[in-house]
Homo-oligomer: 334 residues x 2
């Protein structure tokens, strides 16, 4: 028999399909890809090709050298742009619309074309996270910005065509319903209990242990009870803090270890699957709320969403998080 | 500049990304697939292989012949099964869960392995729709069923591995939040205006014309103002009716023409893209509500969802519905 599980943070349901259940090893990709070069002359993100990108808005360099460790600049094909007004208007007398105002930036994570975060050193990942924070804080203070989404697409089925390791930030002039609902759920929980839902969730997972992949002083990584996707991984701070922009340097250094290890285990255990990760954080103006807790959500792209999901919003997950977390926990990092 | 558009039925926002905009012809698939045979000995859905499926729950036959036109039976790998109780329980003292109770059926649309609905006659598609209605009405009357989702997956990136044309029904013991929210939006609109949001939307699209692909006496097919996906197509009845199970035979015959033509145009115009379609209908118990209108939603799988969508719930659509609707409108059906 299947089990239907409710995600406590969204109140959405997920079907854990035992009749279709797969073992963790069934998700290992068959095909190994060709090794990429460290430098590609045509890649705009490679070291030496800086002139191919828009002007730098952030650059981390060691001791004034020509080289750099992390760079950020505007996306050349932006989803949103700074021109226009953040004002809703009626369209055709029936619809609501607004100008696509906002910001869309790229953060290049490394000068090396073939060095994804799974293969970086912890301090390199920490520098990427520092760059996220710096650009988050720069963008979230701009006039009409209501939410900043930080995300990474790895591999073609995760929506990227550029192999060179990079992340993106999009600053939107609206708080989408999907984000608002998560905050409403957490706010109701807080009204009822005076506690943070996400902190209670992290504490519960630490107590149970069976869905935990790893833990450090400041973070816990686990596969959620109602994972929407096989091997979905959440990395949650152990101290309540609504906004990623307020994370301390020590926290980011600790997160770097957990994120790097989680991505390494995915790459090693499943043969480099495509994945996305996002940083779920509070909307602008709610940075100090006591009910929310920013966190990282990693979504490996091991399964296609089909008509049932499109019609119902209910995901069918063919892997139990208890099984996949055990598989990941037992994988060695070297 | 991009435009951010609000879907009036969900109140979610979609970014229409002009900087990344593509022409309708940019979505044409490059690769033509090999012709499939009319019969495949290993295919459980092929004529003559009936013993390979679970017992038939529906079969349309002409004059008692051995052959059949449409068949339905339980899915051999069901997401939900009839055993168990439809009762919420606490899990681990923290989560909500329930048994995976429900029904999951397959409707085989044709005895021919290589005859997708785009290539059927209208009366063949009408028979499939009649089968949907018959099984919808059978399942929606069972004790704990709260919602019946009817959907079709066409092609691997739409989540199917079986090529033989078939659809599925899943009867769930819950109304998912995604469905409930659409009904809340429509109910609020009805409270305010005494009118049906979907009927007003269909009337508006008919008046505007520019997003309409085709219209008949009883239906209008259009690409929504805030399409989440390129070439997303809605087929909406022109008379208010909340529940698909109450559609008349005449309506289903008319829908068959519009559905067949829409799928034919997709296949012809874009070189047989993968797609899903779903029938959005009222939850059980709300069949006679005046605020909702059942409809068909076709989602071609021409774009991957990426980290931004996963983090924000906002889709970025790289094709304007005004452009794609014109492209589809001008395609000939023969």
């Amino acid at each position: 028999m299947s089990e239907i599980r409710q995600d406590p943070t969204t109140e959405e349901w997920v079907i854990m399909a035992r009749e279709r259940a797969k073992r963790p090893t069934d998700f290992v990709r068959g095909q190994a890809e060709a090794e990429s070069p460290v430098f590609l002359p045509s890649c705009p993100f490679c070291l030496g090709n800086e002139a191919m990108t828009p002007p730098e808005v952030l650059g981390y360099r060691d001791g004034g050298s020509q080289g750099w460790r992390v760079r950020a600049f505007a996306n050349r094909f932006p989803a949103l742009t700074p021109e226009g007004g953040a004002v809703r208007r009626r369209e055709e007398g029936f619809f609501a619309a607004m100008d696509g105002v906002g910001f869309h930036e790229v953060i290049v994570e490394t000068p090396s074309h073939n060095r994804p975060p799974a293969l970086m050193r912890d301090d390199e990942v920490a520098a990427v996270l520092m760059a996220y924070k710096e650009r988050y804080n720069a963008l979230s203070r701009l006039a009409f910005v209501k939410l900043v989404i930080i995300f990474k697409n790895h591999g073609p089925s995760a929506g990227t065509s550029l192999e060179h390791p990079h992340s993106q930030l999009v600053a939107t002039p609206i708080v989408p319903g999907y984000v608002r609902r998560r905050h409403q759920v957490a706010s109701r929980y807080h009204n009822r209990t005076s506690r943070c839902l996400y902190s209670d969730l992290a504490d519960h997972e630490l107590r149970m242990g069976k869905r935990v992949v790893m833990q450090t002083e400041k973070f816990v990584a686990f596969h959620p009870f109602a994972s929407h996707w096989p091997f979905e991984t959440w990395i949650v701070p152990r101290v309540q803090q609504a906004c990623f922009g307020n994370a301390s340097a020590e926290e980011l250094e600790d997160l770097a270890k957990v994120l790097r290890a989680s991505l390494f285990k995915l790459r090693r255990g499943l043969n480099n699957p495509d994945f996305n990760y996002v940083i779920d954080t509070a909307p602008v103006g709610e940075e100090t709320s006591g009910y929310y807790l920013w966190h990282v959500r990693i979504v490996p792209r091991l399964m296609e969403v089909a008509g049932f999901e499109i019609g119902s919003g209910i995901h069918i997950n063919t892997a139990l998080p208890e099984d996949t977390a055990q598989f990941m926990r037992e994988l060695k990092i070297d």
